[in-house]
Structure formats: C-alpha cells, structure tokens
C-alpha cells in the first residue's frame, strides 16, 4: 500500500460524521453601498484606509493623470503588459511624455527580463478584472498579456479600473469568477487590497515589505466626468 492508500484508508474508517451543528444559512447583510455612487465611495474609502492612493477621473483624463503622476513621482521607467489595446494605448500616451520616460513591455519570459524587472523599473501599470467595494480590493487575473509579477515586483503599481467593474462584496467577486470560469480557474487569481505591509516589528505598521511600496488606483468613469 502506498502512503496515499494508507492515509485514505485511515480517513475512511469512520462513517461521514456530520456533527449536528445548526445549519445557519449565512445571509450577509445587504451592504448599503448598492448603487454605483455608493460602491465607488466605499471602494475609495477602504482603499485609502489601506494607504493606497486613489484618483477618480473620467476616461478622457487618463493622459493628463498619468503625466501628472510621472512628473510628481519622477516615474521614468515604466513596465506594461503586451498584446491588448490597453497596452498600445498606454504606450502611446507615455511616448508623448518627456524623453527620459522609457517604456518596457513584458512581452517575453521573465528569465530574459529578470534583471530589468527587479532593478530597473520604477512603475508597472495594469488593468483589473473587478473591484470589491466592501474591502477596497482589486481582482486581477494575470494572463499571457499581463503577467503576475507586473503587480508584484516593481516598487509602484498603478491599476486602472472602470467604475462598472465594481461589485459590492468578496462573495460577489467569487460568484463572478465561478460564473466565468466554472471549475477551471485561471492559473492565478489575485486579490490586492493595498500596498505591501507588515507589523512584524513590535506590531508597528510599515509599508513596502516585499510587494510594491505604493499602490495607485485610477478609477475611470465611462460616463460624463464625476465631481
């Protein structure tokens, strides 16, 4: 008998013991933030609590917003994904910035990009799959065109989210994932709720432990610009 067989045999010696616990069907209280404006408000406040920076704009303001960020934080070396319209659009925007701005595309395997990724990138910019208002969380499903390490290794991560991508709770987000992928989930599904942090030194909060030190979330409204 293999280890597997021995272990399973021991686990099968009991009839399924259902401890009679009162099955309480958990009904999460309907969150107050159901309409779009409330979702946005909650999302922003939660993210800010986690020390992420949040910028709310209309889609037409994307270029000037990125320009401002590039200038304020001296962001020269940018890393983007590759292959989708989004990437072409961003690359286009960035190419109009000063000559010192350099754009790298994650268009090849990490092995040939590792040094650059770890040492020569100031900021990475990604899209998201969804946003969770209740906890100020970005849902990312990294892919061939937007690899996982984009939102992990560079010291600053800029995420662009559309207001229509917001859902109220983690439950809702998981339902979305379940609906879209059934039981065949993507390689990696990531829930990001702020910049990296730790309280391991005498319970004192510090940011930028191993992941990005800064998370900047740009919320774009597809409609007319919101005040």
């Amino acid at each position: 008998m293999t280890a597997r067989e021995r272990i399973l045999k021991r686990l099968n010696t009991r009839q399924a013991q259902q401890r009679t616990t009162q099955l309480e069907t958990y009904q999460p209280r309907k969150p107050e933030h159901q309409n779009k404006a409330e979702l946005i408000k909650r999302f922003v406040s939660e993210l800010e609590l986690h020390q992420a920076s949040v910028i709310q704009i209309s889609q037409s303001q994307r270029k000037e917003t990125l320009a401002k960020l590039a200038k304020e934080k001296a962001l020269e070396r940018w890393l983007l994904g590759y292959g989708e319209d989004f990437h072409a659009s961003i690359a286009n925007i960035l190419s109009d910035f000063s000559n010192s701005v350099h754009v790298e595309h994650f268009d090849r395997e990490i092995e040939s990009l590792k040094d650059t990724l770890f040492k020569h990138i100031d900021v990475a910019i990604t899209q998201v799959a969804a946003g969770i208002a209740e906890t100020g969380t970005l849902v990312l499903t990294p892919s061939a065109s937007e690899p996982r390490t984009l939102s992990l290794i560079p010291p600053i991560h800029i995420a662009i989210i559309q207001t229509k991508q917001l859902v109220p709770t983690l439950n809702d987000a998981l339902k979305l994932v379940e609906k879209k992928y059934q039981s065949t989930l993507p390689t990696n599904v990531l829930f990001v709720s702020g910049p990296s942090k730790t309280a391991d030194i005498q319970q004192t909060l510090a940011y930028g432990a191993h992941g990005p030190k800064e998370l900047i979330v740009i919320i774009e409204d597809e409609g007319p610009s919101n005040s």
């Binding site: 013991q17 829930f191 005498q202």
Partner: protein, 468 residues
C-alpha cells in the same frame, strides 16, 4: 536523563522575565483589540461563525472524498501531488525535488506545517540554504530561534532587540525607532534571495477541492514572491486544510483574517491553480503539493477529538489565553503553542512528550469563545487531560488522593467527623507540600460548616431542617 528544560522550568523562566511579559502583554492587547474592532462591523458574527464551523466540520467529515477530488483537479491542472504520512516522509519528498533540480537556495513563505516537520533543518543538513522570507520568520531565523506565535513569529522581540540583531548578524547599523528603515533592510536582502532562489516553498491556508486551487493569504508579498519567481514552487499542507468549493472561501477568509490580525482582508489573497502555461511569461514551471498527514488521520479516527482538525490556524485562541499571554510561545517548547498547541501536540507527537502542556490551562474557556469556527477547545483540552490522568495508573499518589476524597464525600457521617477533627487540629504550613505553599496560604477551616450554619438558620426560622 534529558538536559532539556521541562515545560515547568520554561514557564518559570518566562514568568520571571519582565521583558518577555511586557512584550507579550503589549502584543496580545494589540491583537485582541484589533480583533474586537474587526468583528464589530459584522452584524451577525455568530451566524458567520456557525457557517465557518459548518464548512470546516463538513470538510473534516468528508475528508477522504475531498482530498481525492483535490488531487484529481490539481493533477488535471498540472500540479504534482505527493502524499506524506510522516514529517520525515514530507522532508524526503521535498528534498528529493530540490536535489533533482540541483537546488542550492530555497526561499520560504510562511508555513507552520514546515516548522512542524523541521523542514529547514533537514534541507540545511543537505547543504541547501533555506531562507525564511516572512519578515518575522526571517528575524527569528537570524537569531536561531523558532517562532513564538503562529501568526506573528517575532512577537517576543522589541524594536531594540531587532535593531541589535541586524547590527550583530548583518553588520548593518539600525535605529531602533526607525521601523521603516529596518523593514527596508529586510526588503533589500530578501529581494536578492527571491531573485536567486531555485525553489520557493509555501504553506496553504485553504485548498479548494472543486477547482484544484491553493489559497494563500498574506500582507507582505513574500508569499507571492516565493510562489511566483523561483522556477519551482512546493506547497506543503496538512490534510485538514481542504475545503469543498470556491464560495466556501469567502466566510472562512472573513473569519481567518479578522481573528488573526484584525483585518477585513489581507493585502494579498492569492489563488494558485496551475504552473506557468505555455503562453504565459512568468510563474513557476513546476508546482508541487505535498499533502501532510503526520498524525492527523489518527486524530480523524478519534470521535472525541476529531474536531481538532477544524482549526484554520488563526491564533485567536492563544491571543485570548491567559496562560499564553503570560508565558509566551517558547515556553511551550512546541511548534504550536497556546490552546491549539495543547490539543494538537500531544496527539501528533505523543502524550509523553507534550502531555505536560495540558497542565498549562486554567480551564477558563476563553479559547473556545474566541475560536472563529467554534471549536470546543475547552472540551478537547479536558478530554485529553482526562485521558492523561487515566493513563497514570490507580496507584499514583494523585489518583489515590482523589479516591480518598471521593470515598469520604460519599459518606456524610465520616465527612463530618473528619471536618471536626480538622478543625480541632491546627493546620500548619508543614502539612502541605512546597508546591502548594510556594504561592498559597494553607486553608483555614471555618468555625462552623455550611451544614451547621444552615441547620442553625432553619432552627431560627422554626423550619424543619432538610439537610440531607
């Protein structure tokens, strides 16, 4: 004869250390307050706990079926699944993978299961450098210690301790007040390790059977680094960590993070389902899951103690335990300290080795109240204490005393006679063993027994005394 200090000696030493007591007091107060704040926003906390309890109890009840489903889906996804009966087996499997890849450097995300099996020592003995990447674990490793808490490993260290440690071991001057600076030092050193590592090892918070997915929660990002950058990822998980479906994750995640660190959600929640796919640009080329038994299947067979396996390793029980708060994690001398440690350790490493931990309980019940999935820890502790007691043999002094007490209490006349004798003789300190008199006064019998007072009162009121 063992020269290892006993649990009793270790707790004594811990109690005498004002510094340790101060560190733990501060840390426990902080964690308890955070949890209180975090659960305040849940209207129906009890309902959530009941659901968490049900999901865990159901998973434990259906463990073999869920594990087979998990394995099948992981394999379908391209994850290699290994079964390890003992810690030694797990170590052999893991080092086997490392050797096959000619690994020189292993970087670890946080895993209590790996501490349980002493994985680091095993890999180091084979000449494979093994570095902890969680800041707290890294600090503890630098100082050649083990974690003193399952969530905050360096909780027993002050800022000053850590600054001194960095200076002594890394040769880097640090200002104890500049926590950001010290974290930056850790970040820089460990970043280099992530870059170079041949293998990344992690634990698993929950594994989803239906989808073949490993779920990891963290704040620092070292878990993501360890499971994404190195070309090989090995995850080690206790058999009990499996849950049925993706939607079961929501209530459990809510309970885990609030209980562990008082957060609604951790910075990162990472769901890993497969290794790097052909068109993908990063991620490990190989992912391995080591399913660890190490005594858990025996616990499963024990009806009275099976509930032990519902544990989600949040640390709430130890944060609320008055004993743990005073003596800290190291005094327990075990991988898992606090109430869950008292229940798990005697079962997986034997009553002989860890039975004394069961004495570290004042039977106050706070652990059971704090447990987010309603594990009846007090009952489990009492059951184990009972078993330990019964295994002692009828002739032991303690058993003898209890029998004498029980004999006397069932014979009222004998009892009353003895009471009178006791009152007449004077109780002196010398009549009691040192273990009693070291911190207690000898008891003083009252002038009149309760029965006598009661009898007198009834007489006063003209009532018939019914003092049977």
């Amino acid at each position: 004869m063992s020269t290892e200090p006993t649990f009793s000696e270790r707790s004594d030493a811990a109690l005498k250390s004002a510094k340790l007591r101060h560190s733990f007091r501060g840390a426990m107060d902080f964690l308890r307050q955070k949890r209180r704040d975090a659960v305040a926003d849940i209207d129906d906390l009890e309902s959530l706990r009941a659901q968490g309890e049900r999901i865990r109890a159901d998973a434990v009840a259906r463990l073999p079926e869920l594990l087979e489903q998990l394995e099948s889906n992981c394999v379908r996804n391209g994850i290699n699944v290994h079964w390890a009966e003992s810690g030694t087996d797990a170590n052999t499997i893991i080092s086997g993978i490392a050797i096959k890849h000619g690994a020189k450097l292993v970087i670890k995300g946080k895993s209590m299961a790996s501490e349980e099996i002493h994985l680091n020592q095993h890999l180091e003995s084979l000449g494979i450098e093994t570095i902890e990447s969680d800041m707290g674990e890294y600090i503890v490793q630098l100082d050649h210690e083990t974690p003193s808490h399952i969530i905050m490993p360096a909780i027993h260290k002050s800022k000053e301790d850590i600054a001194e440690l960095f200076e002594n071991k890394l040769g880097i001057q640090c200002d104890a007040e500049d926590v950001n600076g010290m974290i930056a030092v850790g970040r820089q050193i460990l970043r280099e390790k992530f870059y170079q590592a041949d293998i990344g090892i992690s634990g698993v918070n929950f594994a989803i059977a239906e989808t073949g997915t490993l779920c990891l929660v963290e704040n620092e990002g070292n878990g993501r680094m360890s499971t994404t950058v190195p070309p090989v990822h090995i995850a080690i998980m206790g058999i009990e960590k499996v849950i049925p479906s993706l939607h079961d994750l929501a209530p459990l995640q809510k309970l885990l993070t609030r209980s562990a660190t008082g957060q609604k959600i951790t910075t990162y929640l990472n769901l890993i389902s497969r290794p790097r796919q052909p068109e993908e640009k990063d991620g490990p080329e190989e992912v391995h899951l080591v399913i660890l038994d190490n005594g858990r299947s025996h616990i499963h067979q024990d009806d009275a103690l099976q509930e032990t396996l519902s544990c989600i390793r949040c640390g709430a029980c130890m944060n609320h335990c008055p004993v743990y708060t005073k003596i800290g994690g190291h005094a327990y001398g075990s991988t898992y300290p606090g109430p869950i440690g008292q229940v798990v350790m005697p079962q997986i490493e034997g009553m002989e080795k860890h039975g004394d931990l069961l004495e570290a309980c004042s039977l106050n019940g706070a652990c059971g109240e704090a447990c987010p999935v309603n594990i009846e820890l007090p009952r489990l502790i009492r059951t184990l204490r009972d078993r330990k007691q019964n295994s002692k043999g009828r002739l032991s002094t303690e058993n003898g005393l209890w029998h004498a007490w029980s004999f006397t209490n069932q014979r009222p006349r004998l009892y009353r006679t003895l009471l009178r004798v006791l009152r007449l003789s004077r109780i002196n300190r010398w009549m009691f063993p040192k273990a009693w008199t070291r911190s207690r006064m000898p008891p003083k019998p009252a002038k009149r027994s309760l029965h006598e007072i009661w009898q007198a009162q009834d007489k006063e009121r003209g009532q018939k005394h019914d003092g049977t």
